[in-house]
């Protein structure tokens, strides 16, 4: 590692604060244990560097254009400082003011959070990724501009920070080097969390300055509200896709049935992350098979937003978050369902069930339930004929942070996986459950694919999870299990986490080298059903 910048170095006028060296990242176990053969990290071209802000670490999540004049730089700083002030307002930030004040006022800087953070540890303990680095910057900026005596006592309380263009631009990028997994909050003796501070910084950029990653905002929530899905899928395209999936289910299983769409009087609205229809249609297909077999009275929706459960606002913007959540509820209300079941999408679970809960008044309070819970009930009621030996390969389970640590849904998915796999084939990662590590693609990273950001995501933020996966299947547990000819599955019941695993596995060429694959949970259930001759999971098909 070339250098470890201090907190005030964020303001220095150098071209780049930190240069990551792949050899200095956290070591990985076999077969990635040779430090000299680590995959490279893609660099921006010189033309891109001239145009785009990448002075933090050489990567860009926001693709911010570099200001051309000093006036533009000053205006950028002014807007940011104004926005920071609004975070402290009971009007502009009522939704998070209370918890934010506690997070600003009470950090003892004990650094217990640091070792809990997969980005910090995965990066080889790169100082700028320490959770407290980012939080402390915001605290010091607030002390400087918004605390009584802030300037007078600046040196004493650390508020003597230079807030220039570089400070603000680097902080903007730094807000997208944390996956909001909140593992650090669980490690804090005072209960302070850095993720909320990260999200509040993102809010200032989005709500005050209109700055957010394209994939989350313009190509995310804005597209979602306008076309019905962040994938751009229109209601007509959705209907076509359902027809395609009905055909595919028949081809795979011999079952032909019509999927219920916009069915009035259904008990349940099942809502998937629309990315599943495009990238992993076998997931909604497996849901359809299971719900059909179990005789569940449910429906899908073809209304705008009704067929896409995602809510990217959760990651960066309160207003966009509320708009999407209210629209989802409006769709359910129109159908008259008794509850909404969220498919295998972690952030959609937390968005609609937990975080949106207190913006839903009166008849907007339609119950929301996890598909994990619902599926565990179907499996345990014996509604499916299951032969676990059909899943005769090693499996491990990934815990999506949004569902597990942030909603407390820990056990149902384990009961399902154990019920559909042979004894001894399922192994837990270490740690797991509420202590799990994020996949590395949380808070939108898994869908942020522009320029060189995916390399950072796959090599740095996803590194700890990849290590956990290798260790779960690794030589210490079973000497021959990393044999690439032996398929093995990470069950990841979350679209975002699957997206991250797709990226990480490709980056490390993991399937070819180790035989590790990923799947959703419903696919594993259907694969264990004795109703079908052919296996539902086909290791060769996808990889």
């Amino acid at each position: 590692m070339v250098r470890q910048p201090g907190i005030k170095d964020i303001s220095e006028l150098s071209d780049q604060l930190v240069e990551l060296d792949p050899k200095e990242l956290m070591p990985l176990p076999y077969p990635y244990d040779d430090r000299d053969t680590q995959a490279d990290l893609k660099k921006l071209t010189e033309a891109q560097r001239q145009r785009l802000e990448a002075s933090l670490d050489g990567f860009t999540a926001l693709q911010l254009a570099i200001p051309k004049t000093k006036e533009e730089e000053d205006e950028f700083v002014r807007q940011f400082v104004t926005g920071v002030g609004k975070l402290l307002s009971e009007d502009d930030n009522w939704a998070f003011l209370g918890p934010l004040m506690l997070r600003l006022d009470y950090c003892a800087k004990c650094q217990s959070c640091a070792e809990a953070c997969q980005v910090f540890v995965g990066s080889g303990r790169q100082e700028i990724y320490r959770p407290n680095y980012r939080s402390e910057l915001l605290r010091r900026i607030i002390k400087k501009y918004y605390s009584p005596g802030g300037k007078l006592l600046a040196k004493f309380n650390g508020a003597d920070i230079d807030v220039n263009y570089k400070t603000v631009a680097r902080l903007a990028e730094l807000a997208y080097r944390c996956t909001l997994c909140r593992r650090c909050a669980a490690a804090c003796p005072i209960g302070v969390g850095n993720a909320m501070i990260t999200r509040e910084i993102r809010k200032v950029f989005s709500q005050e300055m209109g700055i957010a990653p394209t994939e989350l905002h313009k190509g995310g929530t804005v597209k979602h509200l306008a076309t019905g899905s962040s994938t751009g899928m229109t209601p007509a395209a959705f209907a076509d896709l359902v027809e395609f999936m009905e055909d595919e289910v028949e081809e795979k299983t011999g079952m032909r049935f019509k999927w219920p769409i916009d069915k009035k009087g259904a008990d349940i609205l099942l809502i998937h992350n629309a990315g599943e229809f495009m990238a992993w249609p076998e997931n909604p297909e497996a849901f359809a098979i299971l719900f059909e077999k179990a005789g569940v009275n449910y429906t899908l929706s073809s209304e705008l937003l009704g067929y896409d459960a995602v809510n990217y606002g959760l990651w960066y913007d309160d207003v966009q978050f509320a708009k999407v959540a209210l629209k989802h509820i409006a769709v359910a209300k129109k159908l008259g369902v008794k509850k909404i079941i969220i498919g295998e999408c972690g952030h959609a679970h937390k968005a609609i069930t937990v975080v949106a809960d207190r913006i839903l008044a009166g008849d907007n309070q339609i119950p929301r339930e996890s598909s994990y819970t619902f599926l565990a009930d179907l499996v345990e009621r014996g509604l499916f004929k299951l032969d676990p030996s059909r899943n005769n390969f090693p499996t491990t389970l990934h815990d999506p942070c949004n569902v597990v640590r942030l909603m407390g849904i820990v056990d149902p998915q384990r009961r399902v996986v154990r019920a559909v796999t042979p004894p001894g084939s399922f192994r837990e990662m270490t740690p797991h459950g509420v202590e799990n590590y994020c996949c590395g693609g949380g808070s939108g990273f898994a869908i942020m694919n522009a320029l060189n950001f995916p390399d950072w995501r796959n090599a740095v933020s996803g590194r700890m999870k990849f290590k956990q996966i290798l260790e779960a299947f690794g030589p210490e547990l079973a000497p021959d299990v990393l044999d690439p000819s032996q398929p093995k599955y990470v069950v990841a019941p979350c679209s975002n986490c699957k997206g991250q695993m797709r990226g990480t596995f490709e980056y490390f060429d993991a399937t070819a080298k180790t035989g590790i694959r990923y799947t959703g949970m419903v696919e594993l259930i259907v694969n264990a059903m004795t109703d079908f001759e052919k296996p539902f999971l086909n290791p060769e098909e996808e990889f």
Partner: protein
């Protein structure tokens, strides 16, 4: 000694008022969105971190919560600083003597007040008094010495960690060192007075009697220094992050463990009505509705299309 006694009254008043004001500020903050983190202490039979949302149709069932589980989790956390033990073991070895020492010092102060009341009502707290008064005497001495030694050791350890541990040093401000030195000075002057001048803390008990009975009391110079430093510290404390005993309570109860579903809370429903009628001034293009715009307009404009 009226000046010192006056300073002490003022310090107690400042401490109580500003700590209460801090607590009131957090308690009266607008309703925030749910941001809980599992495990949540009041859950029943969910030691692994599970929640009521693991149950099918949870909203149709009575909620099971355990006050005992909450108290148990709080007690373990407060008494043993368990989270630090689990996540930062090296720091715990110096932080625990410090915090544990503070608890014992608080017990010592309570015993001093109790002994002063005994003296005021005609009793005598001394080594050669009745058994219970002698016990009170020895307990006070024990708590005072053990507490101040532990605090001093903890302070020195924390200062060493903040000086020599890279991660801590980088983020420590002059205020962080000053706070530790300040506390160390209070503890060391108290210990010095005990060791050299007054092995029974009788002067300090007499000082508290004076405070309680509004009478002037003379103190040795070392205890004047000790009481002055203590009063100044008490005055300074409410304005620092060292009031994290307040923050920790709200962080745990109002954020981390606050999982009350909106449907079951009429208070939250009312608070939502108020919140949505608040003005919003964020100007980004996707929000902008001009001056006077309310949250309800900003978030429903597109939904109602």
């Amino acid at each position: 000694m009226w000046a010192l006694q006056g300073l002490t009254y003022l310090a107690v008043l400042v401490f109580v008022f500003f700590v209460a004001r801090r607590a009131a500020r957090y308690a009266s903050a607008p309703m925030h969105l749910r941001w809980e983190l599992y495990p949540v202490a009041h859950e029943v039979d969910k030691e692994y971190g599970g929640s009521f949302m693991e149950e099918m149709d949870w909203w149709t069932k009575p909620r099971r919560t355990s006050f005992f589980n909450t108290i148990k989790a709080m007690a373990i956390e407060i008494l043993f600083v368990k989270t630090l033990w689990e996540n930062s073991r090296k720091l715990w070895y110096v932080s625990y003597p410090f915090h544990g020492g503070l608890y014992v010092v608080i017990a010592y102060l309570a015993l001093l007040v109790l002994g002063s009341l005994v003296n005021l009502f005609g009793g005598q707290v001394a080594a050669n008094a009745d058994w219970w008064q002698a016990a009170l005497y020895w307990l006070t001495v024990l708590a005072g010495v053990v507490g101040m030694v532990a605090v001093s050791v903890g302070c020195l350890g924390l200062l060493a960690m903040r000086t020599f541990s890279d991660g801590l040093r980088r983020y420590s401000t002059p205020a962080d060192y000053f706070n530790l030195v300040f506390i160390l000075a209070v503890a060391v002057t108290g210990l010095y007075g005990w060791a050299v001048v007054d092995p029974g803390f009788s002067q300090q008990r007499a000082f508290v009697v004076g405070l309680l009975s509004l009478k002037a009391v003379a103190l040795s110079p070392i205890f004047v220094a000790n009481a002055t430093l203590f009063a100044l510290f008490l005055t300074y404390l409410p304005f620092t992050h060292m009031t994290h005993f307040v923050g920790k309570f709200f962080n745990y109860h109002n954020v981390r463990w606050d999982d009350t579903p909106n449907a079951s809370s009429q208070a939250n429903q009312r608070a939502l009505g108020e919140a949505l009628n608040k003005p919003i001034s964020w100007p980004a293009p996707h929000i902008g509705g001009g001056a006077g715009q309310k949250w309800v307009d900003a978030v429903t404009r597109e939904v109602n299309k």
